[in-house]
């Protein structure tokens, strides 16, 4: 592996982890699409910053972009509060408008400047190592320094305000009652998302920013209930996807950002299918098992109802039973076999009898 390759992977890794951390809170707060909005509108912030400073390297650009991110969030909330448009329509109105303004400004007034709209949307990680700076005496890719800094800011913010973030995410009302301003935490988080989006889209493009913020966090959400663990898992999944995506891109000779997004998607798909207890396979097999258990319990309760009564011999006959519960004969046969296998009932001369354990189970299902 060459140094360039290593550096690209390192940048990808740092970007992925930096995005994955605030992404957890976006997913939990049901604001995932805000990352889509912000990662587009920060372009307007950069353009305005560029017009003010006439430079693409000024740190003011990052500030302008972050401010625009926060402005986006405020505008969306303002629009929501008027009650004139519903829920996500507000996002769908605000960000295309701001983004269009940015694109028009660039094409009208900033032609020839290295402010390429495609690059903003798509990014090009492969070029990251060529834009270098010396930071703390070490020569490194500029995006590594920038994203490293943003990663540190993200970690510090989350560690410092962990309690507040957690509380305001799960119970904004309680947080307010305790004197933590949920609005302050909210805008703090949105500033963080904006800064991260600015730093990241330079390297990977704004659409991958969405992939890296939302997908690893949602994947982690399928795996754990614990916020701390979710943060760690999200960062881990994001980081692994970044490195995996890089190698996929190398193998296919394809775009790195696109490949990383694809890998995050594949990881999500795998977890979606196979996650213990929350994956689709687990859910389906649990449903199937429950269907049998459920059917068995119904049958047992039915038998119990009629057991000690005079009509038992008639009511508990297999054929009569079927008519009553209205199961198809084949399904009923399967349920009876399930019961026999689990020792809850026996068959004797066309009549079904409860075993002791069957009787206990029927009673406990009834009290449940």
């Amino acid at each position: 592996m060459t140094v360039t390759q290593l550096e690209i992977q390192l940048v990808a890794l740092v970007v992925a982890v930096a995005c994955a951390l605030p992404g957890v809170f976006l997913v939990l707060r049901r604001m995932a699409m805000m990352s889509d909005a912000i990662s587009h509108t920060v372009l307007l912030g950069i353009v305005i910053g560029f017009f003010l400073t006439r430079s693409l390297d000024s740190p003011l650009l990052v500030l302008g972009a972050a401010a625009m991110g926060v402005l986006t969030v405020s505008l969306v909330e303002l629009l929501n509060r008027t009650g004139l448009v519903k829920e996500d329509a507000a996002i769908g109105l605000v960000f295309p408008a701001l983004f269009s303004i940015a694109v028009i400004l660039i094409s009208r007034f900033a032609r020839g400047v290295h402010l390429d709209v495609d690059a903003v949307l798509l990014g090009e990680l492969a070029f990251a190592p060529f834009d270098r700076i010396t930071f703390l005496g070490v020569d490194m890719p500029k995006s590594l320094a920038v994203m490293g800094g943003i990663l540190v800011i993200n970690i510090v913010f989350i560690v410092l305000f962990y309690k507040e973030l957690k509380l305001s995410t799960f119970d904004a009302g309680l947080a307010a009652a305790f004197g933590f301003s949920p609005a302050l935490i909210h805008y703090g988080l949105m500033t963080l998302v904006s800064i991260t989006a600015v730093g990241a889209f330079d390297a990977v493009g704004s659409i991958l920013v969405v992939a890296l913020m939302v997908t690893p966090a949602a994947t982690a959400y399928l795996l754990t209930d614990d916020l701390r663990r979710m943060l760690l898992l999200s960062a881990l999944i994001g980081g692994l996807s970044a490195v995996g995506g890089y190698w996929l891109a190398r193998t296919l000779d394809a775009n790195i950002a696109g490949s990383i997004a694809t890998v995050t998607g594949l990881v999500f798909l795998a977890v979606l299918l196979f996650a213990p207890s929350r994956g689709l396979v687990a859910i389906a097999s649990r449903r199937r098992r429950q269907r049998w258990e459920f059917a068995q319990a119904m049958l047992l309760i039915h038998l119990l109802h009629h057991e000690s009564k005079p009509e038992a011999t008639l009511e508990n006959r297999t054929d009569h039973l079927l008519e009553h519960i209205r199961w198809s004969p084949s399904f009923a046969e399967q349920v009876i076999r399930y019961g026999e296998r689990h020792g809850t009932l026996r068959r004797r001369a066309g009549t079904l009898l409860l075993t002791d354990s069957g009787r206990t189970l029927a009673r406990s299902s009834m009290i449940e």
């Binding site: 699409m33 109105l93 009208r108 394809a254």
Partner: protein, 397 residues
């Protein structure tokens, strides 16, 4: 170029006419179908669909080797639909919420399309992948055959919308009730989603992925402000979409280097902003004016009530009081002078001297009607009742 020249160019300039026809079609179709998306609270579905379309376009090209608009549109629509169905599955069967599912499908499908495209071209640099047209659309390159394809697909979608009008209305307003009537709601849902996907697929070439979502949301959001009827809302949304499409095309044809997509979106955003602000009865400016009027009326009433209360304390109903006293009674509320002026204009109060005001006989009558619940007002009890209840203790006999 004058406005007239600009409008004339629609008829004389072949390119502009073609582009304008294309964006007109797009505006009408996405505006009309977007109405249902917005009413069903699926505004961002359009954003996810348009991004999810990319791998469809690339795969359609890979499989058929053709770049014909019909094939690419079909590929886009199929991929968009697949994306939506995945969103539905994820949201329904797991704890992942709709917003996250949208974000995942949007970004992962797009990333996958990007990977496929660069792989296909054996050039990992996305910027040279010719994606620009997909991202921002290339309305200027629309050819007659493109417009024909747009019109055919879009027309079919609109026709189906009209055919199932009653059912779609039921679905959007009260799904369960519709199901109880025996309509298969999940199939209707699939159908209306497919129609929206078609609307988006035909728009991609003109305005591109990033801005297509605006064409779904904005015309509908604007139209909602002007009407309370679904039929009119759909027509208005189609009209706004068409206006933005044609207007944006003409504007961008004037300026050098303006891509059509962003200008169209800006045009539709302007229409929406204007609607949100100025639409009668719902618009923000309208509401604000109404609010001010109410506030002023309340304040004036309060001043009249206070004057009446004060007068009640003297057995002499036209006993004058200073503005200052009224201000204190109003707990420092502003606008006492303005309220007095308004009352004087209506002949309910009169200025006694530089600082003092008194009720006129007409004012006493009005105040009595307004504030007296029971009989005589001489004790002032009744007046206190109308006085926002804050000064009751001041007027107890």
């Amino acid at each position: 170029m004058t406005l007239f020249d600009l409008l004339q160019s629609i008829f004389t300039d072949y390119t502009i006419r073609t582009v304008a026809l294309g964006t007109l079609t797009l505006g009408v179709v996405s505006g009309a179908l977007g109405t249902f998306a917005v009413l069903r609270k699926q505004a961002l579905m359009g954003d996810a669909m348009s991004h999810a379309a990319l791998p469809g376009v690339v795969l359609a090209f890979m499989l058929t080797g053709q770049k014909s608009p019909a094939v690419l549109t079909l590929g886009a629509a199929l991929a968009g639909l697949a994306g939506v169905l995945l969103i539905v599955v994820i949201t329904r069967y797991t704890r992942v919420k709709q917003d996250s599912s949208l974000g995942i499908i949007l970004s992962v499908f797009f990333g996958f399309g990007l990977m496929l495209l660069t792989f296909l071209q054996r050039n990992p640099d996305a910027r040279q992948a010719g994606l620009n047209s997909f991202l921002f659309g290339q309305a200027a390159t629309l050819l007659t055959r493109d417009v024909v394809v747009m019109a055919l697909f879009g027309g079919a979608a609109l026709l189906l919308m009209l055919l199932f009008w009653k059912e779609f209305k039921l679905l959007s307003f009260d799904r369960d009730y519709g199901a109880s009537l025996g309509f298969p709601m999940q199939y209707l849902e699939l159908l209306i989603t497919s129609l929206l996907v078609v609307a988006i697929a035909i728009g991609l070439q003109a305005v591109g992925v990033v801005l297509m979502s605006a064409m779904v949301v904005a015309p509908a959001a604007a139209a909602r402000q002007w009407t309370n009827r679904l039929g009119i809302m759909v027509v208005l949304a189609a009209l706004f979409g068409a206006m933005a499409g044609v207007g944006g095309t003409l504007l961008s044809s004037m300026g050098a280097g303006l891509s059509t997509g962003p200008v169209i979106v800006l045009a539709v955003s302007v229409i929406t902003t204007a609607s949100l602000l100025f639409a009668p009865s719902r618009g923000l400016v309208w509401r604000w004016v109404q609010q001010q009027r109410n506030r002023r009326r309340l304040r004036t009433d309060q001043v009249l009530g206070n004057l009446y209360t004060l007068a009640g304390q003297h057995d002499d109903l036209d006993h004058p009081h200073t503005e200052e006293a009224l201000r204190i009674m109003g707990e420092g509320a502003r606008g006492v002078s303005a309220s007095l002026a308004a009352l004087a204009e209506r002949g309910l109060v009169r200025r006694v001297d530089a600082t003092r005001w008194a009720l006129t006989p007409a004012g006493v009558t009005v105040a009595r009607e307004k504030f007296d619940t029971g009989d005589a007002a001489s004790t002032g009890d009744g007046a206190a009742g109308g006085n926002a209840g804050t000064h009751t203790e001041a007027v107890q006999p």
